[in-house]
């Protein structure tokens, strides 16, 4: 079992999300995260789906996705070099004594503080799974009170350089 990131371009018509989601649930496949939004092209949406499964399962998923009538294009980005990003909002306990240390971490990770109160900080972070995992790890000991994640968005790289 491994995680695969699928980029799926679909006609933006009613029911298309449930068609895609139904395809996973109807076959007992697990969706790890799913993100949908319109693209530059009118009437076309891009879904980024992170799904778990062995190679045979993922091959079936890709084929089944392609078979859906509203599907325009499916790419498995796992095999290609791609950029993956997720945005996460974290609300962290931050009494006076901890605040400085948390802000230092925010700095190192190039996050942004987007809301402050007497004893909490809300932090916005963008990054790939590795970076976000590391940040969550570091902040856990202060006490994360809430977390909201967008799920991955991904794009194939045009040049093979990581900036």
């Amino acid at each position: 079992m491994s995680k695969h990131t699928l980029s799926v371009m679909v006609e933006n018509e009613p029911g298309v999300l449930s068609r895609v989601a139904g395809l996973f649930s109807g076959r007992g496949f697990n969706i790890y995260s799913l993100n949908v939004a319109p693209t530059l092209e009118k009437g076309v949406s891009l879904m980024t789906i992170v799904a778990e499964g062995d190679d045979a399962i993922v091959e079936q998923i890709v084929k089944q996705l392609r078979k859906l009538v509203p599907t325009i294009k499916v790419k498995d980005l796992t095999e290609l070099k791609s950029v993956e990003r997720e945005m996460v909002l974290l609300k962290v306990n931050a009494e006076d004594s901890k605040r400085a240390e948390i802000l230092r971490i925010v700095d190192i990770f190039r996050c942004k503080v987007v809301d402050v109160s007497v004893d909490e900080l809300t932090i916005e972070v963008t990054g790939d799974q590795g970076k976000i995992g590391a940040l969550v790890n570091l902040l856990t000991r202060f006490g994360i009170k809430e977390i909201a994640r967008t799920g991955n968005v991904a794009m194939r790289r045009s040049m093979q350089i990581d900036l």
């Binding site: 029911g15 449930s18 068609r19 079936q60 392609r66 078979k67 009538v69 509203p70 599907t71 325009i72």
Partner: protein, 563 residues
Amino acid sequence: MKLTGAQILLKCLEEEGVDVMFGFPGGAVIDIYDEIPKSSVEHILVRHEQGAIHAADGYARATGRVGVCLVTSGPGATNTVTGIATAYADSIPVVIFTGQVPRALIGNDAFQEVDIVGITRPCTKHNYLVQDVNDLARTVKQAFYLARTGRPGPVLVDLPKDIQQQLAEFKYPEEVSMRSYKPTKMPHIGQIRKVVKLLKKAKRPLIYSGGGVITSGSHEELTWLGKTLHIPVTSTLMGLGAFPGDDGLFLGMLGMHGTYAANMAVNNCDLLLAVGARFDDRVTGKVDTFAPNATIVHIDVDPTSIQKNVSVQVPLVADCKPALAALKAETEGTLDEYDWAADHKEWVDKVQGWAKEHPLTYKDDTEGIKPQYVVEKIYEITKGDAIIATEVGQNQMWAAQFYKYNRPNTLLTSGGLGTMGYGFPAAMGAQRAFPDKLVIDIAGDGSIQMCIQEMMTVVCNKLPVKIVILNNGYLGMVRQWQELFYEKNYCATCMDAQPDFVKLAEAYGAAGFRVTEKKDVEKTLREAFKVDKPVIVDIRVEKEENVYPMVPAGASLTEMLLV
């Protein structure tokens, strides 16, 4: 001039050349029914919506055209779901029109509202809720196009009542353009050449043909290939009729109730050419031991079918027709220099030896009537020139084993879903398409009771369908499993409390016959087939006869229980 949505719908159906639809009215489609008498489309009023969808499906299977059914919202729509799933499982082109509550009420739990688009999403090729009357014509055009192209299948169009009443300019689109759906599937010529190379190298090739050959209309190409290159042919249930059933190279069905020769051939072949078949578990038995010695070539229009159940060495995504035509074109040139017959002789002899050793047979050792005998007689009397529909169960397997199908579209049977109650309404649809043909539903006493209400439809529409009930007083196929694998615990499979089928036929205005002795079987069938109205022939067969050969579920194809 502007037309109402209902008028537009009927104009679209006329444009599509639809001559008949099967349906049942209700408040949500009354506007459409109001227009039907003014159009050229005939409407056949069924007695249950399941009958309508199966009839549309039977019409489609018998003709190769798109079948159409029309039902109301809510319960009308949900009553079609079994039939939609049946058509989906067997890739049959049907278009289903359902009424829907007015748009303003959608989502409000209105009277007779159901989210039929949601319900049927996993069992249609595609479905639509029409939200704007200006989209109606284009949607209908797309629905028919989707239903019949690529891998065919059912397409549902949900029509809110207010859309049926609104006005719009009618213009039927000339063409369908969908950037996301491009079904023309020509074979990759490199792959075709690879297959020819493999065929030349193979000493023990076998063709495994499925329903895709029939749907794509490529039975002639398949037959040419088998006969000219001297390759034995085995078939799935759905593929029966694509290759002449009486040809010496034809081995019959493979799989759970397949022939000894077919299953042995699969086990021993060195090249398996799968065409329009999808390696269903009823066919493969235990997957790990399926065709253990073979290189597998798989031709299918649907890429999801390839590599799904078995691993395939040469995948070929293409419509069967151009693919087989390309194989023909590539091999035709070899016929002068290459002696296919000589090359395959040893293998063909071996396979035919197996067929002789263990032919399809049964022990005709009792006073009673053997169901297989009845099917054989039906074949003899009709000389194979009938359309056979079946119900599901033992009757279906005997109809597949003991009747020889020499032409495509002559066996209508629910293969993928195994829907009891399918056969009779499907026969009705086929009879409507071919009024002069003999159409016979080979039935079990259990299954026939699932859609028996359509007796009234066939009687009043003068559709002289013949129902032959192989009446064993049991849900026979389940009883067979109970006998073999559940220590004869015949729980809930005894069905000997039954209506008097002869009187039932007569009550509907049809004719009824009963046969209790073997000597009367042939005579009565002959007589019944001559009657110019619907008929039920209730034949009391041996109650505990089993279908053999049988590969127990999950066993290897070579582990057959023989007669």
